[in-house]
Symmetry: C2
Subunit: 408 residues, 2 copies
């Protein structure tokens, strides 16, 4: 791996993801931020934070707030530069990417990066609000987000799964696996739900054929924060910083109907390719990944778009992996003996999906796993590299980050 990290993560904190009816964004960000600050081994003070980067999607309509920099200035008691970015479900990933550029600019030693979303209060209208992440014509045509992903999933099954029932099973196994992974994650929205079987998924309520409720990530509230520094000073703060080896963002058409292909997310393909190129790694060098499973089909896309499995071949391999490893602590995806474990804390499906928080929750989970601090949910093999994959809309944007503990 090339030794040129763009930034280092030295602390991380989060709230539980759930329906936080009593909370507002600032208390959630405050809690996550405080935990992140306190988690820095050798100490850091609030006043050492030189800039704030925030990501959120629907804060204006859900919480009637804007101007997040001013909103957070008061809460943090800081007059430092703060930048808020919105990129639908990739708002967190984009905030992280933008924060990496901030570190690369050389202006800051230490910064706070946070993602948040407070959605519960608007459960009745949010299905329409979420369509801001699509093209207005798609909204006017009657689509909602499950419908858009159902279109992608239908085409995938038609093109690659044919009539093999294992294809539908594999896409249900993704959900089962992610629920299984969340049970020991104390912050996960569905940790108390216990195991969700493949049959549970396949018999759950139909939302937009063939997508059922248990293929879908939930409406959630939550915030996650990271403390980041320039890589060269990270060891001042902790002996075990986690380095961001590459931070990539790629954009693509916001609309499904103008893309050449809907069984793949080109933004993911390009972003992964750029990240691997920058680090000199191949996808087989990645030990663990946080993939954007807003609907389970999107995790299957990630496995193909990242190159781990060939085009149209994820479902067979998912099925084989699941059957081989079900009942294990974590259920990896396998390829010629190589293991890639995805969504260790439950992913968007089971950990929860407070939209803007997700892209920061992913490096939070990777940070904990790479530092062996995931407690009961710690992966039981040695892992050193992680990939975080955050998608906005149906693929109008993808961010990909590669994280590593040991870099030589």
């Amino acid at each position: 791996m090339k030794m040129n990290p763009c930034a280092a993560i030295i602390g991380a904190g989060r709230t539980r993801f759930t329906e936080h009816w009593e909370e507002d964004p600032k208390t959630m960000i405050g809690l996550a931020g405080m935990k992140a600050l306190e988690s820095v081994d050798k100490g850091i003070r609030r006043k050492d934070i030189e800039a704030g980067y925030f990501g959120s999607f629907l804060y204006q309509v859900t919480n009637k707030i804007g101007l997040v920099p001013g909103y957070m200035s008061r809460e943090l008691g800081l007059n430092v530069p703060m930048i808020n970015t919105e990129a639908a479900c990739a708002s967190g990933g984009l905030a992280l990417h933008n924060a990496c550029l901030g570190i690369e600019s050389g202006r800051y030693d230490a910064i706070l990066v946070a993602g948040f979303e407070k959605m519960s209060d608007r459960q009745d209208k949010i299905i329409d609000d979420l369509m801001f992440a699509a093209d207005p014509h798609e909204f006017e045509a009657g689509y909602n987000f499950p419908g858009l992903y159902a279109t992608m999933m239908t085409r995938y099954m038609y093109e690659f799964g044919k009539d093999d029932p294992k294809c539908a099973e594999a896409l249900a196994q993704i959900s089962s696996k992610n629920h299984h992974h969340c049970i020991k994650n104390k912050y996960a929205q569905f940790k108390d739900k216990g195991e969700i079987s493949v049959e549970d998924v396949l018999n759950s309520r139909m939302i937009a054929n063939p997508i059922r409720i248990l293929h879908s990530s939930p409406i959630s509230d939550g915030a996650v924060a990271l403390i980041m520094t320039k890589p060269e000073i990270a060891k001042k703060y902790t002996d075990t910083p986690i380095y961001i080896m590459s931070s990539q963002e790629v954009t693509d058409h916001v609309s499904l109907y103008t893309r050449n292909k809907i069984t793949s997310v080109m933004a993911t393909r390009l972003a992964v390719k750029q990240a691997l190129k920058e680090t000199g790694l191949t996808i087989d060098d990645i030990d663990i990944a946080e993939a954007h499973d807003c609907f389970s089909i999107e995790e299957a896309f990630f496995l193909e778009d990242s190159g781990f499995y060939g085009e149209g071949e994820a479902w067979k391999n998912i099925h084989e992996s699941y059957e081989s490893f079900k009942g294990s602590g974590h259920i990896p995806y396998i390829k010629n003996g190589k293991e890639l474990t995805v969504n260790l804390g439950g992913g968007l499906k089971a950990d929860g999906h407070p939209v803007g928080a997700t892209g920061i929750r992913q490096p939070y989970e990777s940070f904990k796993q790479l530092r062996k601090e995931a407690k009961e949910n710690q992966i039981d093999r040695e892992v050193n590299t992680a990939m975080c994959h955050n998608v906005g809309g149906t693929g109008g944007i993808a961010t990909v980050h590669i994280l590593a503990r040991d870099v030589q």
Copy 2:
């Protein structure tokens, strides 16, 4: 001046600011962006653009769009990184600041930076939407934005103007001056309105005592775009790049009721101070400025917060300057013979205020003036340095940029 610009502007384009009922954001950004690309003297192609930075405030509620990066990817036919920032009325200034950090990161040679807002369609509701830029408690207390600025203006007049009618006259002269400046600006919303006298302002409809309609910037639609490069390669594209010598952002409490002082904007004070320090300039070295006159009192604050006039002394000097120069091509502010000309194209008041576009319109105007390309509206004295000042909310954020033509 220290020779370490953070970025260079090599091209600039804009739409007229007005009520563009027939347009949508992407056509307006497209037009501004195309003009910006075509304005680059030695040529640049769309495909040379390596990243896009956008700023807008209310696009979700006014246009039912989100995920601007994906939205613009399709329009531009580019899969490059794009970052959208929202900071209320400073969304454009924050996009510019963020773009400077992007250039400083070293990742990009050439980038597109654009601000836009499409407000007309929602004129009936936008007075409430704009309150996203304040604290929710202020909204619940019955405030709207004219009301918040009326509170600041009342206090300023009470504290410094006492009963001198010249104070109220001075705050009206700011509007008259800005309308006067816009008449030869072909893109200005009110270019055809002709002169607006001080009496017109003082007799115009009361909005929120003491703020009248002619103290207030309008509801507007429009977009502005810049093409920016690393400073060291700028001359590849033009013999007369305009350099950004300092890019500063400062945040402060979003709420008026928690600030120590409401007759001054601390975020402006700190941002100007940092920008002057970085460039080794004093405020007296600045030739022209684009100040954030959302309400005319805010231009008076700028004159004090920037240090050009002392605390509480702007109104007397505004009055004296106006009386000395009324009828001139441009009406400068004077101090011991030194001239500072503010809002050469009419400012927010008369050029218009499509919120997210304003912070990019300011460097557009400065770029044209510093390059002597402002045609009939070109200032009639030699100018080399410009300051652009963009405020969000009542001062929860301020961005300050110093631009210069000749740097040694």
